[in-house]
Amino acid sequence: MSTAAAKALQPRAAHQRDLLRQMLAIRRFEDTCAELYSAGEIRGFVHLYIGEEAVAVGVSAALTADDSIVSTYRDHGHALARGLPLDSVMAEMYGKTTGCSRGRGGSMHLFDVSRRFYGGNAIVGGGLPLAVGIALADKLRGDSRVTACFFGDGAVAEGEFHECMNLAALWDLPVLFCCENNLYAMGTALVRAQAQTDLALRAGSYGMPAWPVDGMDVLAVEHAARSAVGAVRAGGGPHFLELRTYRFRAHSMYDPELYRDKSEVQEWKKRDPVALLAGRLRDSGECTDAEFQAMSDELTAEIDAAIAAARAAPVEPVADLTRFVYHPEPK
């Protein structure tokens, strides 16, 4: 969307178009990643967020630049919604020094401490203690920051989840736990892995406010996140959102999806978060098909430019292999 067009819109409509643009950016970025992966340009594990964009975008909209975020290995959406430059994320996929983690992390480990984005954590549940600790630091200093911690339904089966729910509630820490319930822990369906599938109920048992949210509707996510973030920031202790969503693509690029029916995927695609908001804005006349197409073209151009920059960017010299293991000895 051009700046002039944004100014012409009502603030509410401009905001919603911005949400749409952010979701579309994640969608286009990841569609491109899948192509680049198939072409052998990027390697490693690549976990696509497609279908879940409303969660990252809706939650991020409720945070300030001073808040902190802890993410998972499915982190492209969280990173882009946080405002990490698209070209730094693309360069990270290519393992280049211009990547947001200097190419050392790859798809699963996007970091940008300047934006208080404390990284993609690829041990399921492993980010929760970090979020608790970041929030503890804020509380000890008297800062009014909130730490948003993303994790999936699979993490709820980990011991660390329960340890962290308890610790955050016990110490009244300013954490927003964002459970992205996409119904599968890799290939294991929620009902096959969890004795109690009402995840908000489980978090609630630790004495924190917890409720389910339609994770396909970015406006519902933003509304819930604003309410929860406000309460956390006001000293209300940790809150838990169970964001009910769905992964449209395979778990990773290696997954033949033997564990779910295509019809189930098709059902969920009817609630595609991008199409849902785009349809609303089309119906209200706030984003026409032509404007949507223009937005899409603009993003495609941005992504193409990011790919060109990433391809041209330097790789770390092998002589620097063991950098960033320890800080250099002071001279």
Binding site: S68, S101, R102, F111, H327
Partner: protein
């Protein structure tokens, strides 16, 4: 440890005060809390109980529950929270009750503390200190007695320290807190009651170098932590036989101070490595491998190892004693090295 040379400590006062290893460690924690608002202590029973080994006794009353923070029995969560707090600018000291329990937090130590700096391309600092009790000698059997510091020394990205003297118990913590990288401090459980004296103004010591605790010319006895006393006793016994042993205290298990280790062997031409950890894949194995790489032509005899027996620690006293490096075994190994070597 009287009569041994303590290097790495700046002695600026002649006034000596009586203390113990436990009190020296407590004084170190107190000093850190006084000097830096970002420092806090967190762990199981560190507050009201006063610490499982009474290291933090009295600190709750002095500093309050925000800074002397009792945790639930959630090793992974509170170690990870220490990492998170360090990322966010604090200087946490996390106490884990024993090394066996630290395995419940191994994921956080290995996959986060040791790794975040690298996988973030140098962005994430984890200036965290984790203290834990290690080792056997108290008949507490197979889930409270092991020496796993050698495992931790395998991991790039962390520093591993083993204070074996009062000066190091008093002085390593502050230096570790100044380090931008995560530091693990292993306190051998048999040392807490060790009495002695320290200068009244004892303070920070370096955490990078090994120390020659006893100079000698015939054989280097290389050890660390809880077996330093046993090794010094062995050196005394060897002296009675006319064998002049040098005792090297590693102090830092990662990184190892190759220069001091190889330097000692260059003088004595014989090495016995003493390690309470299990022999296979032990820290002692690493030291021996480095001697092969760096001091092979200085050696007049094969390097010897005296390690813990490869058995989960049994409860009965006589079996526990048999499982641990004993002075007689060190003496025998040193005699083999001296007697069996080139002349």
């Amino acid at each position: 440890m009287t009569g041994t040379e303590v290097t790495g400590t700046e002695v600026t006062s002649t006034e000596m005060v009586k203390t113990t290893y436990r009190e020296a460690m407590r004084d170190a924690i107190r000093e850190a809390l006084q000097r830096d608002d970002r420092v806090f202590l967190m762990g199981e029973d560190v507050g009201r109980y006063g610490g499982c080994f009474a290291v933090s006794l009295g600190l709750l009353a002095e500093f309050g529950p925000e800074r002397i923070r009792d945790t639930p029995l959630s090793e992974s969560a509170f170690v990870g929270a220490g990492i998170g707090a360090a990322l966010a600018g604090m200087r946490p000291i996390v106490e884990i009750m024993t090394v066996n329990f630290s395995l419940l937090a191994l994921d956080q130590i290995m996959n986060n503390a040791a790794t975040l700096l690298h996988m973030s391309g140098g962005q994430c600092n984890v200036p965290l200190v984790i203290r834990m009790t290690t080792g056997a000698g108290r008949q507490v059997a197979a889930q409270h007695s092991h020496s796993l510091e050698g495992w931790y020394a395998h991991i790039p990205g962390i520093r591993v320290l083993a204070p074996a003297t009062l000066a190091d118990a008093r002085g390593m913590l502050w230096t570790a807190l100044q380090d931008p990288d995560p530091v693990l401090i292993f306190e051998h459980g048999s040392l807490y009651n060790m009495p002695g004296t320290l200068p009244a103004d004892a303070g920070a010591v370096d955490i990078r170098s090994a120390a020659v605790r006893r100079a000698g010319t015939d054989v280097s006895l290389i050890t660390y932590g809880g077996t330093l006393g046993t090794t010094c006793a062995a050196a005394d016994a060897l002296a009675g036989d006319g064998i002049d042993a040098e005792v090297v205290d590693l102090r830092s298990l990662r990184p190892l101070d190759d220069e001091t280790i190889s330097g000692s062997v260059a003088r004595t031409h014989r090495a016995v490595v003493v390690d309470e950890g299990w022999r296979t894949g032990s820290l002692a194995a690493e030291v021996c491998a480095r001697l092969m790489e760096q001091a092979f032509w200085d050696l007049d005899a094969p390097a010897e190892r005296v390690c813990g027996a490869e058995v989960p620690m049994p409860y009965p006293r006589h079996l526990e004693e048999a499982a641990l490096p004993r002075a007689e075994a060190i003496v025998a190994a040193a005699r083999r090295a001296v007697g069996g070597g080139l002349t």
